[in-house]
């Protein structure tokens, strides 16, 4: 029985070997595989495209707005800046003797029109430096993950600081002006007085912002400090030389305009910078 089955199987194998050999297809050549992939490529592309569009902008997140950012930065930082600003400007108001505004009783060379232009830009640089980013790397990282252009967040914070300092300076200048007018001994040329500190402050702030979004914070502070020192030297020279008030005011006006232009340019720059504001690297990377 067994030999007979073995013979049958052997015979069957022999009979089927040729038809099976013909039925088995040779493996595809590399060229055939490549042409198959090429033929299927449109399908792959369509699948990829549908896959790519699956992630959309978070619908819970609203469009960026400089005004909203300014508001939240203000609510976040107002206590520190109000305390610092009020202390400094209260001191300035008290330092100016309304009966002798151009001859300070503590330091004779410090008068109303030299105190404000010297102190306001300095305070501005100090506040910008201290508040430009969170000191804790973890919070800095969390704050940098925002759908807003990250530099815009930083811009809003710096702008808020500038706005605050300049508003304080404006309020205290007005108080000083009123006190001098009430005392009646001297007349303070108010607009040139305002321009005197506003021009240099905006120039310093504008330069700091302009450099910040191109070369980082360290260089921004260095540049604005250098400009401040240069202005101080020139200012001293102008004090020693007799210049008409209008000439001086024109110079302050030009500085103010340059500062404003730099601020506007920084705003547009801040909207296109991709890299994170003060990420874990601790630097402000620019493209």
């Amino acid at each position: 029985m067994r030999p007979s089955i073995d013979q049958e199987i052997e015979q069957l194998e022999q009979e089927l070997s040729e038809p099976l050999r013909q039925a088995v297809l040779p493996p595809p050549s590399p060229a055939e595989t490549a042409s198959l992939i090429a033929a299927l490529q449109p399908e792959f592309d369509a699948m990829r495209a549908s896959h790519m569009s699956s992630l959309e902008f978070n619908t819970q997140v609203e469009e960026p707005s400089l005004w909203r950012l300014l508001r939240s930065q203000f609510l976040m930082n107002w206590k520190t800046i109000v305390l610092t600003g009020s202390a400094v400007f209260l001191m300035l108001i008290l330092l100016v003797d309304p009966e002798r505004p151009f001859n300070n009783f503590l330091i004779p060379s410090l008068s109303a029109n030299s105190l404000f232009p010297v102190i306001t830009p300095l305070l501005l640089i100090a506040c910008m430096l201290s508040s430009y980013r969170s000191w804790n790397p973890g919070m800095r990282a969390v704050e940098s993950i925002t759908p807003y252009p990250p530099a815009l967040v930083l811009y809003s914070r710096m702008l808020m600081v500038m706005g605050f300092i300049l508003s304080w300076a404006l309020v205290s200048s007005t108080i000083v002006g009123i006190r001098i007018a009430v005392a009646g001994e001297y007349q303070l040329p108010f607009i040139p007085f305002l321009l005197q500190w506003l021009g240099i402050s905006l120039l310093i702030g504008g330069i700091a912002m302009y450099v910040l979004f191109r070369k980082g914070m360290k260089l921004a502070i260095l540049c604005s400090s250098t400009v401040y020192v240069c202005w101080f030297i020139v200012s001293e020279y102008m004090h020693a030389t007799i210049y008409p008030v209008s000439y001086r005011s024109a110079l302050d006006g030009i500085m103010l305009l340059i500062g404003l232009v730099l601020l506007v340019r920084s705003y547009y720059r801040s909207k296109i910078i991709r890299s994170g504001a003060g990420g874990a690297e601790g630097s402000y990377d620019c493209d």
């Binding site: 896959h51 902008f57 997140v61 790397p137 704050e143 759908p147 994170g276 990377d285």
Partner: protein, 286 residues
Amino acid sequence: MIAIDNLEQQVGEFSLRIHELRISRGITLLVGANGAGKSTLLELLATVRLPRRGSIQYDGRSVQNDLPLLRSQIGYVPSDIELYEDMTVYKLLKYLGELKGMYHFERIESLLTDFRLTPYRDVRIKRLSGGEQRRVAIAQSLLASPQFLFLDEPLNGMDSAERKLIIAYLNKYAEGRTIVTAIHELDEWEAAGDRVLWMDQGQAGFYGNMHQWKADLPYKVWVGQITREQFQLYFDTDRNMIEFREAEGGKMDLRIVSKEPPFHGWKAVPPTMEDAYFIRKFTRSK
């Protein structure tokens, strides 16, 4: 899915290199020794750092082309975060929500409820315990209900009840989303985790599901008892001990990694998640 290709990042002396990695939806447990690159990888995934070389794609969106979109869909908790301690819980969440473009403040209320922070709503951060502060830190990452969540040791400083609360919340939240969390206690995440990513000296040493993590290990786990003298001798010569504790009769209960039974009569047991981590680390050191 997150697709990482040819990623290279140098951070000081440390370098991270991932040739190819696909992180699927669900919870990926990121494990590895200190300094293995877990935090650097999380910072890259969270877009805190931008890759110097290589690419990371999130459902086909890249950091290079779609950064604001991605950041609208990313939540992140760093390990070293120190929340602004003078702010109240609510104000801090509101501030961070606004930074993310979130002006629907009802989300804050629901997170306060979910994380049992409602009683601390108007309490300053500095008055909270470490675990409560950590809960606030996790809540802030969820403000915009992001699709991608990256957590660096989120359970640090929490007691066991808080840990269970957070794991249960994240387990539910992960449905249809991607969570990558760096952890040290693997076993407590076993039920919630979907996959394990083991970072080893700046490279992805393993990525796979929980079953794969515990399978194909080159060593077995053995449990048994030895005398104190044997233990002393063993402790001095071998470093393959997972766990030991004193037993009755001056003996020691041991849990050991070995190819063969270390002593007669010892029993092989299925490895836990922690065992698998130990074995992989042990194998690497060999």
